[in-house]
């Protein structure tokens, strides 16, 4: 959702690049975009328009699918990058990139002496600092960033509360400590730790972390003769006020040849997971099982909690099953998954059936670029209707509910689910502890990395509570009309 300027600027840029690509003017006009956005004599949010233009150039590189860290020649024009993006056959990892020019390198240490400091006689900050990192100079305390170890004692002892804690938003929100400063003080993602949840991207006030987009690849295929099929995550229905059939119709107007609900694959996931749950937990040795449809969670287990792996269900995700089914039906079609999730990009790169991933905000911007208003789109009903169990996946609790619905009547009462509604360092500690000491009243853990479930994902358009409410209404009214 756009509750800050950074997100709006990002979406205006996605819209512009989409427009140029749809209209076949990308290679010719792309180098002008940074200049149009920041004309001479205009305002800039940085030191000057030239810096803003430089950062915009990097943003566009990422929109074209390139990693900023891979830049070798600063003189390589956007036009050259655009040509490469239009010619390439495959997209590659990783999925997030840091625009170090945009990173303001927030702070070196988290404690800061404000003007409230009176340079008092007592100077408890100096006396209590275990590293001797504080000195009084020009009547005020100063923290030496080379000596400070972020213990926070100075803040606790200051009688004027003059010392404050200054967070580094991306570092604070990352649940796995994958983002930190390099030697130049700029943020840098360690891809051996990164779970691709996208929280850092959402939270950065300078929008310095961006996705490597597949926008160009998708639009190129939409303009070609190949059959292109959209597979949309059920969370999409919460992203616009219009009914699902109008959203599907708008997708067709973009140039997709067909649209399918990923809720169809979610039914398969729930069904398989119910069988696995019965075998492994109700009749087997496992004290509990966790869901496996959230790709950032699965990545987190792989990289950070390997001891939890044996508790995670082996069922594949809704995206996988839907793509598998469509690949069988349409072996030569291009399959594009439309998703609120950054981690799905990574899952798709390793999935043999999905070709591309488009985020919800990219889809929204493509609608704007083509002048499509969802409310006035011609309705289109996807050929296969999904069941409410699959459609409930994007809201926290939906996966457990679906699992319950696929268990036999006798087994339903034996399901004791627990949701993990958003992953942070605390929930990781909890999950780790469960491998040694399972919670007595829990035998199924539904883990959603994003708070609220997928409706709270990093690239959503609607407020999660509005999306959840719409999805629930959609499910209820559709069931009534069956």
């Amino acid at each position: 959702m756009v509750d800050n300027n950074a997100i709006r600027i990002k979406r205006e840029l996605i819209t512009k690049i989409s427009e140029l690509t749809f209209e076949g003017r990308l290679v010719e006009e792309i180098d002008r975009v940074p200049i149009e956005k920041f004309p001479k004599g205009g305002t800039s949010t940085r030191c000057c328009v030239y810096k803003s233009r430089a950062i915009t150039k990097y943003r566009i590189m990422a929109l074209l699918g390139f990693r900023v860290e891979d830049e070798e020649d600063e003189l390589k024009s956007l036009s050259e990058y655009a040509k490469e993006s239009l010619d390439r056959r495959n997209v590659s990892s990783p999925v997030l990139t840091v625009i170090d020019e945009a990173c303001s390198a927030c702070v070196r240490v988290n404690y800061f002496v404000t003007d409230a400091c009176k340079g008092c006689l007592a100077r408890p900050c100096v006396i209590n600092c275990p590293k001797g990192a504080i000195e009084i100079r020009d009547g005020r305390a100063h923290i030496d960033p080379d000596k400070c170890v972020n213990c926070g004692l100075c803040m606790k002892v200051c009688p004027y509360h003059a010392i404050i804690y200054v967070p580094v938003p991306c570092e604070d929100i990352c649940p796995v400590g994958a983002i930190s400063k390099d030697e130049t003080g700029k943020e840098h993602i360690d891809y051996e730790k990164c779970i691709y949840c996208g929280k850092c991207m959402v939270v950065c006030p300078f929008s310095a972390i961006v996705e490597c987009s597949q926008l160009i690849d998708v639009i190129k295929h939409l303009k070609s003769d190949r059959k292109v099929i959209a597979l949309f995550a059920p969370a999409l229905v919460g992203q616009f006020r219009a009914p699902m059939e109008k959203i599907a119709g708008a997708i067709i107007e973009l140039g997709f040849d067909d649209v399918y609900e990923v809720a169809l694959g979610a039914e398969v996931t729930a069904h398989n997971e119910a069988i696995e749950f019965k075998e492994r937990v109700l009749e087997g040795e496992n004290k509990f099982m966790t869901s496996s449809c959230c790709p950032a969670y699965v990545e987190m287990v792989k990289k950070h909690i390997p001891e939890l792996k044996s508790f995670v269900s082996t069922t594949r995700s809704p995206m996988h099953y839907t793509a598998q089914m469509l690949r069988e039906k349409f072996p030569n079609a291009v399959l594009v998954f439309i998703s609120p999730c950054v981690a799905k990009r990574n899952e798709a790169l390793h999935d043999e059936y999905v070709d591309y991933v488009l985020s919800f905000e990219e889809l929204g911007c493509m609608f704007i670029a083509k002048g499509i208003d969802v409310d006035s789109a011609k309705e289109y009903t996807p050929k296969q209707r999904a069941h409410k169990s699959g459609r409930g996946f994007p809201v926290i609790g939906g996966v457990s509910e679906a699992l319950r619905s696929y268990l036999s009547d006798g087994d339903k009462q034996r399901l004791a689910p627990m949701p993990i509604n958003g992953i942070d360092r605390k929930s990781i500690t909890l999950l780790k502890a469960m491998t040694n000491k399972p919670l007595p009243n829990v035998n199924f853990v539904e883990v959603m990395t994003c708070e609220g479930g997928c409706v709270g994902g990093p690239t959503v358009i609607s407020l999660p509570k509005i999306a959840s409410s719409k999805i629930k209404k959609w499910i209820e009214s559709d069931e009534a009309n069956k």
Partner: protein, 88 residues
């Protein structure tokens, strides 16, 4: 002026994607007093996005006055102008 001040937030696709979606939550940022004086609703595309002279989306109509490139601050400022008119 009797009745509440109407605030219509355009939920046409352009406006919605570029900020209208978050503005729907506007009410929680109003004081209790102001909440009683205002009626907030979403509206389908007004068509302002079609002509550049109206400015950039997202668009919000406070009574009949247009707020372009709307954000929380601008909308509340415009609402306050109407509140002052009623009181004054």
């Amino acid at each position: 002026m009797k009745g509440k001040i109407t605030v219509q937030i355009c939920t046409g696709t352009s406006c919605y994607v570029l900020g209208g979606a978050s503005l729907l939550d506007l009410e929680k940022n109003l004081s209790e007093d102001l909440k009683k004086k205002v009626e907030i609703k979403g509206a389908t595309c007004f068509g302002f996005c079609k002509d550049k002279k109206y400015g950039k989306p997202p668009f919000v109509l406070v009574e009949n006055e247009l707020v372009s490139e709307a954000d929380l601050h601008k909308v509340i400022k415009k609402i306050m102008q109407y509140v002052d008119k009623v009181v004054g």
